[in-house]
């Protein structure tokens, strides 16, 4: 079977597709997040005694942190597709991803601050991971600032796509430099993943919640793409016909 992928690269054919997908992802996101949090809050009472209740912050923190980084990769992916194939929709998807990524990055910092206060006694510390996340927020902000500063949508799309790509190339260097500010001692600095040390039920809770966040990201990104399409194509006939035919419900 041959699927014509490029069929959906036109906003006019993509728009009805998103309309069908948004409720699906909304439902999945709701179920998964609620399920994950239920598991985390009510299926782990023995593990989380009174002294360790603050562990529950991690159910949102971990998912948000994963999404904040993953969405930057998604953003760059669409930006590159846009630059290579010169499709408008790819740029729109990249533009729609950035605000959601920034929101998850902010949420990571916020929940991380409260987690830090409970476990380390301070809201903020210049720990490599926190600094990394802060810089990621700056990169998202830079992308959105450039996007909104240019009025011509064709130029703003391509310019911000290039910026995101440059950011991706530099990210490993930035993160590495934050991780080891002293190159003489780099070998000693390895961040271990704490994933495997975590108890099973807690791990299930945050994996499911993270999956739910992912579905939520799909949902809001598609919603934002719909808005961007409407905004940019508002003078085309297909948009006008769509609005007229369905009284704006579609």
């Amino acid at each position: 079977m041959k699927i014509n992928w490029f069929k959906y690269s036109a906003p006019s054919t993509f728009y009805p597709l998103t309309h069908k997908l948004v409720p699906v992802f909304a439902g999945l996101a709701f179920l998964l997040i609620m399920g994950g949090l239920y598991w985390g809050f009510f299926q782990t009472p023995d593990l989380l005694t009174d002294q360790k209740q603050y562990y529950r912050i991690l159910y949102v923190h971990v998912g948000a942190a994963w999404m904040s980084m993953w969405l930057y990769a998604v953003l760059v992916f669409w930006a590159l597709i846009g630059l290579i194939f010169n499709t408008r929709l790819a740029y729109m998807l990249a533009a729609a991803t950035a605000p959601t990524g920034a929101i998850f990055t902010f949420l990571t910092l916020w929940t991380g601050a409260f987690w830090g206060k409970t476990s380390w006694g301070t809201y903020w510390d210049w720990d490599p991971r926190m600094t990394t996340e802060l810089i990621l927020l700056f990169l998202y902000i830079g992308y959105m600032a450039l996007q909104s500063a240019i009025d011509d949508s064709r130029r703003s799309d391509r310019a911000s796509a290039l910026l995101a790509t440059v950011g991706l190339v530099l990210i490993p260097i930035i993160f590495w430099s934050v991780n080891c500010p002293d190159p003489n001692q780099c070998a000693a600095l390895h961040q271990q993943s704490s994933m495997s040390q975590v108890e099973g039920n807690i791990r299930i809770a945050w994996l499911v919640t993270a999956l739910g966040f992912w579905m939520f990201a799909f949902m809001v990104i598609l919603m934002r793409v719909k808005n961007i399409i409407l905004q940019r194509e508002q003078h085309t006939t297909w948009v006008k016909r769509l609005i007229c035919s369905n009284e704006g419900q579609q």
Binding site: I141, A149, L162, V166, I173, N184
Partner: protein
Amino acid sequence: MFTIFKTLLIRDLTLAMRRKTDVLSALFFFIIVISLFPLGAGIDKAVLQKIAPDIVWVAALLASMLALERLFSSDYEDGTLEQMLISSQPLTVIVLAKVFAHWLLTGLPLVLIAPLVGLQYHLDNHAILIMVLSILLGTPILSLLGAIGAALTLGLRGGGILIAVLILPLYIPILIYGSGAVSASMMQGESQAYLLLLGAFLLLSLIFTPWATAAALRISSE
């Protein structure tokens, strides 16, 4: 290819010499910022020595950032840039020449003034030498990376502040290793690794950034 590089370099330098304030303002900005810090942070010798590398580097970052806005804008306004884009000469070489001229006018003065700053902050001779070397290696990277931002924000209102938002996060590694080199040299540490890293960054940015800047110029001037 080398002729175009030389011609453009001489042209940019001549143009800049006719408007000396543009060149000197970046330098004076650097000196003023650096002289302000002791007034705020106190004139305790130990404190000044401790914060000197970071202040010098942050000031260098901001100074080279301030000058970036004019890197392409005057050529963009009078149409020269358009001629450069449609000329048969490789755009990356043109970009490289312009960035090099820009560095000679805004980065090199900082290198030359750095020993004076070192004296202001009571650094010893070895630390001053390392500081000069790190700025010598680091400021060209700032100009090369900054050129991408300057090209992307070409002709936009409020371009200067936008460049800062776009580019400053990308300057972080240079800030870390630049000031790290000076700090290490003061604490009897080995600063060679820092300088080698800065050198590696310089080579990488020499190869890749003109290409990205050229792409950005094409996007911006369409």
